[in-house]
């Protein structure tokens, strides 16, 4: 049969039609699969292809004082970045920019390193450049295709050095911090808090960065900016309300001896809220913002007087005489003595113990004193004997219980852990089992020896004394970390008595010259032995003595005597309780002669062989 018979041809035409429909059907199915079922995936990939993310940094939250006055705020600033697709393009762009402003090889290297870290992100060139430079760069935008100039909130600290240590400052996150995830959620190039509340509450302050997109072509060259693919606005970080009183803080900063080193903390003993925290010398956190920030920071980090060091929470000093109250509290709690008890040996300017003579600060001696009087006069001989009666293990045990080997727990980063041995094991380990004697108790009893406390930890202890129930509070600037159930465990009569004797320190005792009429200020002076130079002076006070609402503590390095610190502290108390016109300037300050006894060498220079 002819193969082109119409029936056969018609049959083949039908078969061909079926094949055509089948194959085009399969093609349609394949497109359905890609365009409908896979649409989302491919759309994402297409966006990823062409859109480069530019972060819009969120303004950090404000940090305000108790009245709402801003301590850290934001002002508009600029950043200049470059979006490039290759190293050559980056070099090219840097060459062009170097015609306008100087780019040294260090900066070029840094920019290159940044670019390699995130080649698809705009690489940061200048943070907070002068406006003139921004304008010049904008003019050359045609030559600098990938130029990204954007406004970026810039941190400003209106009070500058006055409240620097409490607030801290901001800096760019380091490579290492990124790796260690020290700041969860912070991206490469982000500004994070450094020190102070900026650091402590960084996550809350940071806010959420926004994004916008720049469209690039297949070679990564910028084609369009903005407008494409939407934009997510940044969300400002939370406002942090502190307990600080900026007026008082200012007064503290102004009252602190110019050029001196040390720290002052003002705290409400009832709840632990810190009203002022000042460390000297201070620094201007505004100097760290902007182009010269890194240089300035490096300079301060290596400065001899260590301005970045927060002496209120990071400096540890022998607690000296203020610590005698801890010894008194231990003895009273254990019922060894009461406030009217006297020691067997009256003070004649010193105490012979074994083959060594332990001196009292007052060479002529204090005579026969009760505990209350001994506190008032800060008599070393009395406390030597009391220390011996308590015995060394008890001092170590009770001191640890009172929190002297722990940080105070203030909500600031980098608080030093106060040093105090928790048991005699420490001495065994350090000097050998027979390498030390119970004479150590004598030194500990007057706040010397193996005992280094931060100001803030001493403040915590004094707020226990100040509270009618002897309960401890946690010092804080924003919020407490947790409740501590620690208490001095003394009856309110005993506590009243202790406060009474502290009151007489200011009225008649070692700080009598600092007394301010109408104010019942209770406090304790101290002189910390400093083997490297002049002694450090302490003074910690609370007022009003019968129902304290404020504790003020100060440590002044090289002040020689705590008594010279007392007038400053008392005027701060007056400023707080009486307001700005307290008139303390009318009082002439007379510095009493309070001095620490010569340190007695009680430990062998070399561990003995036996």
């Amino acid at each position: 049969m002819n193969s082109f018979h119409p029936h056969l041809v018609a049959r083949r035409a039908r078969q061909s039609t079926i094949v055509i429909f089948a194959i085009f059907g399969a093609l349609t199915a394949a497109f359905f699969n890609v365009q409908v079922l896979g649409s989302e995936k491919y759309r994402l990939r297409s966006d990823k292809n062409r859109l480069r993310t530019v972060y819009l940094p969120a303004p950090r939250g404000l940090i305000v004082d108790a009245q709402g006055i801003a301590l850290a705020e934001n002002v508009p600033g600029y950043t200049v970045s470059l979006l490039v697709s290759s190293e050559e393009e980056l070099h090219d762009a840097l060459d062009r920019i170097s015609a306008i402003t100087e780019i040294d090889s260090a900066m070029a290297g840094e920019v290159l390193a940044r670019w390699r870290r995130a080649p698809t992100d705009p690489v940061l060139l200048f943070r907070d450049p002068p406006l003139e430079l921004v304008a010049q760069l904008e003019e050359r935008r045609v030559m600098l295709r990938g130029l990204v100039v954007q406004t970026e909130p810039k941190r400003r600290y209106p009070f500058g050095p006055m409240v620097a240590h409490a607030i801290g400052y901001v800096g760019e996150i380091s490579e290492r911090e990124l790796e260690e995830r020290s700041f969860p959620g912070a991206r490469f190039g982000a500004l994070v808090g450094r020190g102070g509340l900026e650091h402590q509450y960084d996550e809350r302050l940071r806010g959420s960065d926004g994004v916008r997109f720049i469209e690039v072509d297949v070679l990564g060259r910028t084609v369009r900016r903005g407008g494409m693919g939407g934009r997510i606005e940044p969300g400002q970080g939370d406002t942090i309300w502190t307990t600080l009183d900026v007026g008082l803080q200012q007064y503290v900063a102004e009252t602190f001896p110019a050029g001196g080193r040390g720290a002052v903390v003002v705290m409400d003993p009832r709840d632990g809220s810190v009203l002022a925290l000042y460390s000297a010398p201070s620094f201007d956190p505004n100097a760290f913002v902007g182009a010269q920030g890194m240089v300035e920071r490096q300079r301060l980090l290596t400065a001899e007087n260590q301005p970045l060091f927060n002496r209120a929470i990071q400096g540890t000093y022998p607690p000296a005489s203020p610590w005698k109250l801890a010894i008194a509290a231990m003895a009273l709690r254990r019922g060894l003595i009461d406030l009217d008890s006297k020691m067997p040996t009256p003070c004649t300017g010193g105490l012979q113990y074994g083959d060594r003579f332990f001196r009292c600060w007052q060479q002529e001696g204090h005579g026969d004193l009760t505990l209350a009087e001994a506190i008032e006069e800060s008599c070393d001989v009395f406390f030597y004997q009391l220390g011996l009666r308590l015995t060394l293990p008890t001092i170590l045990n009770d001191g640890t219980e009172m929190g002297f080997s722990e940080p105070a727990g203030i909500d600031l980063p980098g608080e030093a852990i106060s040093f105090f041995p928790s048991s005699t094991q420490y001495y065994d380990d350090r000097y050998g089992r027979r390498g030390w004697t119970s004479a150590i108790a004598l030194n500990l009893a007057i706040g010397q020896g193996e005992n280094d406390q931060t100001l803030i930890n001493m403040m915590r202890f004094y707020s226990m004394l100040a509270n009618s129930d002897g309960a401890a509070v946690e010092p804080h600037l924003v919020e407490r970390r947790g409740e501590t159930a620690r208490s001095l465990d003394l009856t309110s009569e005993v506590l009243d008595g202790l406060r009474e004797s502290l009151l007489s320190v200011v009225q008649t005792g070692t700080a009598a010259g600092a007394r301010i009429a109408d104010l019942k200020i209770a406090g304790k002076t101290g002189t910390a032995q400093n083997p490297h130079g002049e002694d450090h002076g302490w003074f910690i006070a609370f007022a009003p003595a019968d129902d304290p609402v404020v504790v003020v503590g100060a440590i002044v390095e090289f002040a020689e005597h705590g008594s010279s610190v007392a007038p400053m502290v008392n005027s701060i108390v007056a400023r707080y309780l009486l307001g700005e016109n307290h008139g303390s300037e009318q009082y002439r300050m007379v510095f009493p002669a309070d001095s620490a006894p010569e340190p007695v060498q009680i430990l062998p220079l070399l561990p003995s062989g036996d």
């Binding site: 083949r12 055509i20 093609l27 349609t28 409908v36 896979g38």
Partner: protein, 419 residues
């Protein structure tokens, strides 16, 4: 039956063919215009205007081929075939490369100017030659031996094209050969046996799949009971193909190997070989159902889509007009091909019938190969999509083919074969 009174010329033209070609042509031009609308400088910016010139020339030549009597054409066929094959041989000797395949010798250049790709002409010439060869037979092929002459007619240009190397066009020759043989009434099982060495080659990448194929083939041979010599030859060829595949693989150019590997797994080398397919699928997939809007395709605008005016023009449709645009294009191609099948079915003589069906086979092969590769159904080869891809030679061959088909339809209408 001739209608002597009032038979308007236009009524003699096959309307579905004219309408579908006109719409496809406009669709293709619009897409080509869009392919030039990019955010980065592209040589394709004004290429739609050049394509208009080619279309004009092509339509003019279609008018010429429309006036050409199939009888005259049949007489001329051997000369055309020999001329086309000679050009292919010449191309292998003096041919030059172009564009992305610069190392491929597929162009004939005269005085430094490329004047055309002989492979496109050879496709039409092969169709004509096969039509002439098979039309002269009265009985359909019943043995493999009967298929040998036709296989040689298609095999010679196929081999020459494959040597360029241009695997895409070689595939089209296979499509043409099988389409024409099928239309000439060859037993489909016989065609399967003819194709078996190729299938064997493709399946030999895995011993398991190849083993299954050999078992199936053996069963088929036992069931079909062809001549014992043919059966042995087929079986042996299959085995040799399976064994030779490794050597044949070694003869492929590196880019061809990569293309095949990328076809199997596009993420094999996403930056280089797989790039085309990945970006093509991203363009198509991101178009979704309704697309990103005419000229608005971002993959295309930002040059992520390679060869957006030639081999990868169809993803532009997919990205900008979405599945809707794709379905319209596929429907138009279907209408066009069915019109060709219908003309072939009603042709006045077997030469004309085979000629038109061969053209349908050629265009079908182009369409499924080109569109199929954009979604990963076919390996990537550089063959143009009719009426969409920019390019002179194929546009001319296409329009001339359309002219011939319209003439065949016209003749059968005049002869009253069709109403």
């Amino acid at each position: 039956m001739i209608n002597p009174a009032g038979f308007a010329r236009s009524e003699g033209l096959n309307r579905p063919l004219v309408v579908s070609v006109a719409l496809l042509g406009l669709f293709g031009l619009a897409t080509l215009y869009s392919a030039g609308q990019t955010d980065v400088p592209t040589p394709a910016a004004d290429i739609w205007q050049k394509q208009m010139v080619w279309f004009t020339v092509g339509i003019g030549l279609a008018a010429v081929s429309f006036r050409l009597s199939p009888r005259y054409l049949e007489w001329m066929t051997p000369a055309i075939y020999v001329f086309a094959v000679s050009l292919l041989v010449l191309t292998l000797i003096v041919g030059t490369g172009a564009g992305t395949a610069a190392s491929v010798r597929s162009w004939i250049a005269l005085g430094g100017m490329r004047i055309g790709q002989p492979a496109e002409l050879a496709k039409l010439a092969t169709i004509l030659m096969l039509a002439r060869l098979l039309a002269s037979r009265r009985a359909a092929a019943n043995s493999l031996r009967d298929l040998i002459p036709a296989s040689v007619v298609a095999g010679v240009p196929l081999l020459l094209v494959a040597l360029q190397p241009d695997l895409g066009s070689a595939f089209v020759f296979v499509g043409i050969l099988f389409a024409v043989l099928f239309w000439a009434g060859a037993n489909p099982w016989l065609l399967l046996l003819l194709a078996s060495p190729l299938i064997s080659l493709l399946l030999s990448f895995s011993v398991f799949s190849w083993g299954i194929w050999i078992v199936l083939l053996t069963a088929l041979l036992v069931w079909l009971r062809p001549f014992i010599l043919e059966a042995t030859a087929v079986w042996l060829t299959n085995v040799v193909m399976g064994i030779m595949s490794l050597q044949l693989w070694g003869t492929l150019a590196p880019y061809q190997k990569n293309r095949l590997l990328s076809f199997l797994n596009p993420e094999f080398d996403p930056q280089a070989t797989g790039w085309h397919l990945i970006q093509s699928k991203v363009a198509i997939g991101s178009g979704g159902i309704l697309g990103k809007g005419f000229t608005e395709g971002t993959q295309k605008r930002l040059a992520f889509l390679p060869e957006q005016h030639t081999d990868f023009i169809f993803p532009v449709v997919g990205e900008e007009l979405g599945l809707a645009g794709v379905v319209v294009a596929l429907a138009l191609f279907t209408t066009f091909l069915l019109a060709l099948v219908r003309i072939a079915g009603h042709a006045t003589d077997s030469y004309s019938s085979l000629l038109v069906f061969g053209v349908a086979g050629m265009i079908f092969a182009h369409v499924i190969q080109n569109i199929g590769m954009t979604v990963g159904l076919m390996p990537i080869t550089g063959i143009p999509l009719p009426l969409f891809s920019y390019g002179g030679s194929f546009v001319i061959v296409f329009w001339v083919s359309v002219g011939l088909a319209l003439r065949v339809g016209w003749d059968s209408r005049l002869a009253g074969y069709h109403n």
